[in-house]
């Protein structure tokens, strides 16, 4: 699955995107965050204020409980500040 990061989430993780093979047990957006946090300190730092991280599946907002099955792209980013 393609994972993309924006703003300070991207900066903390140190990359804008990556392609990951996720274990079958990783089913929801929350599961992906747990999986990422376990990968290293940069990820743990990026997701430390976990409640403020937003997610999008295939370019549409989702709650962190959403299932990722069938989606090609998962994005993580801080609250939006455009406009």
């Amino acid at each position: 699955m393609r994972i993309v990061y924006f703003a300070w989430v991207r900066e903390r993780i140190g990359r804008a995107e990556e392609e990951l093979d996720l274990p079958d047990a990783v089913r929801s957006v929350d599961d992906v965050i747990d999986f990422l946090v376990a990968r290293g300190e940069d990820y743990a730092h990026a997701f430390s204020a976990r409640k403020s991280i937003r997610a999008a599946l295939d370019k549409a907002h989702v709650h962190s409980t959403a299932l990722i099955a069938g989606a090609r792209e998962l994005a993580f980013f801080p609250p939006m500040t455009g406009g």
Partner: protein
Amino acid sequence: MVEACPITISVAPGDFDVAADVAALSKGRLDIGAIASFVGLCRDEQGQLSALELEHYPGMAEAELSRIAADATQRWPLMGIVIRHRYGVMQPGERIVAVICAASHRGAALAATDFIMDFLKSRAPFWKKEHKSQGCAQDWVDAREADAAALKRWHEGGVGQK
């Protein structure tokens, strides 16, 4: 006379021309009686900003703005919508965003503009980073509590209500 509501969405680095958009919306249409518009500018109240950097999620930004515009057409009888949002580096005083809504009457045009700006602020994937003029400090702008509160107004009432 039921006419279509043409929707223009653009997410691009360059500046835009609101007057040209307004002219294009109303051209040849005598059913439009009201055009509301909003322009958001890059502020620098303390004189400490050297530049503002706007990051966006390509593809999702356009998609989300299109969804917000479509929602507005469900709530009000609109006759045209233009949403333009820039990304990249901009200077204090420059335009960042424009929303224009046309309708028969002022109520729909003004409320839809307000609605689109509220949803754009909280749901369109853009992030602002401030580059300060003193030193090389950079800061991501925090989301405003007021923006989340503004969004709630549209959920409490019925369709088209605040």
